[in-house]
Symmetry: C2
Subunit: 304 residues, 2 copies
């Protein structure tokens, strides 16, 4: 309806979801859109159609508008590979990758991810959230934790990502809950509860005991000395505690800024509080949007 | 054919397999049999039929012979629950559990598993292997490692299991290889190779880095600085090293007796050699059989 007001579109295109925000001339989006057509479900060549299905009603009648994308859409298996930029470097910079097979009404720009040579590590999407954080608070220096399937810890200094580490925490928790022998003994949806804090503490103090503590959850079920809910909470505590033990160098001099969904951020915040570390939690959607706005400004700067 | 020679039958009934050995009057079995009807595939009430399908041709025409079983057949979801005996205790002892719904030609006796109250732990089947080891070597004292899906470490003294620990190592390795993001970057069958020893060492030295080292395997794939075979070897090293880090109290004063399948025992032996620990490897089938023979002798003793 107000499609002719559309000036540009911001897109967060991850493995499982596709989200888009339509911008006019104001700071806030006119519309926010979402589909399940994540990068993981699309064959090469299906990307243009997927994004058009979502944004078509918002495209102006004449002209061509910029569509700024971040996330796994730039992976090797994505729309077109946007080669990693190597840290240390600012979270945004260099040139965007432009796929060739675009609808004539859009110009697509993909934000490159970041890589680290030693130890080997990569990110796609989180660099845009870090850019958003720096866009809102240009003087920020310190540590950003982005919990999730593959949790990231990033050291930021002088506007640059200095180094980062990724932990398989969320994926490990989910596999243990749904695919391992523990699936009979836990309830994945009921994990933030009594037992969590103790699980964190046990892994932080004795990370080597991880594999044994996992089986002890199963044995505790057989020996009937715990509830499924307490076991789930302990399991999430053990997995997050193992990550904290590994990432100690990032958080021990605190504070830590957490960018993540509400419940998981709350858990990480509680886990770090238990270690005497102060945390601040930022909304992930707002932070991604701020980063895509920063990318849009970079694009405008390039165009001028 | 020589069914009338059958004196008793030994059965190892695990989650995925059912194995039976037919004994006459001599020490060595007359026949060894195997089916895929593991406890995990059977409904309650289907156990008698499953074992009869396997051993029927070997049952004598008259009379009733003893069938000694160990393993998950005695679990809550098995044929009939054989309640755990609590350590410290000898690996065999107390009474066998006798299911009621047996073919009239057999008397079934199920060896009970062992449990530990603090920390909570359980075993079913490994107690019979330990009994086999003690049957062959009654003076044995020290540490037995039984690697596998759920690896066990057991302290043996004065003919008793004093304490034990279970690690989810094999299951974790298999889940990571087949279900996680790493499945794109490794080859589960090609894991004992260059990279293994270094993976063990890295986990032993820094168990807290486990979750990070997992993701680094994936990143190493993206950044093209390793092969799938080297990554698989490193993954198995990391997982086994995490177990070694946790079980240090068991092996640090060595030596360790390993009871396990050839390839996995070889890997554990190499991993411990790297830590300066001497190991001896025992054949798991022979050890199980020796344990079931010990159980049969206990039964004869009771009957007298």
């Amino acid at each position: 309806m107000a499609a002719n007001d559309t000036k540009w579109i911001a897109v967060d295109w991850g493995t499982t979801h596709l989200r888009a925000w339509v911008f006019g001339s104001r700071e806030e989006p006119i519309a926010s859109l979402k589909s399940e057509e994540g990068m993981g479900r699309l064959n090469p060549g299906a990307f243009n159609a997927a994004v058009i299905r979502l944004i078509d009603p918002h495209l102006p009648e004449g002209g061509r508008i910029p569509v700024l994308c971040c996330g796994m859409v730039g992976a090797r298996q994505g729309w077109v590979e946007a080669p990693y930029r190597t840290v240390p470097c600012p979270p945004l910079g260099g040139s965007f990758k432009e796929p060739e097979d675009c609808d004539p009404r859009i110009d697509v720009f993909i934000v490159p991810g970041l890589s680290q040579k030693r130890p080997p590590d990569v990110m796609r999407g989180e660099e845009t959230q870090i850019a958003g954080l720096l866009h809102e608070n240009p003087e920020f220096e310190g540590v950003v934790c982005l919990p999730g399937t593959h949790s990231k810890w990033c050291q930021i200094r002088a506007g640059k990502v200095i180094r980062f580490q990724t932990y398989l925490t969320g994926e490990l928790f989910s596999l243990l809950c749904t695919q391992s022998i523990l699936r009979h003994s836990v309830n994945q949806d009921d994990w933030f509860n009594g037992g969590f804090t103790e699980g964190v503490q046990d892994s932080v103090e004795d990370p080597a005991g991880f594999g044994r503590e996992l089986f002890a959850l199963r044995a505790g079920d057989f020996l009937a000395d715990s509830s499924a809910s307490a076991r789930s909470a302990r399991l999430s505590g053990l997995v997050i505690g193992l990550e904290l033990a590994g990432a100690r160098a990032f958080w021990e001099s605190g504070p830590v800024t957490i960018v993540g969904a509400e419940r998981i951020s709350w858990a990480y915040s509680a886990a770090m509080s238990g270690q005497g570390v102060k945390t601040e939690v930022l909304d992930p959607e707002a932070t991604t949007l701020a980063g895509l706005r920063a990318a849009y400004r970079q694009l405008q700067g390039t165009a001028v």
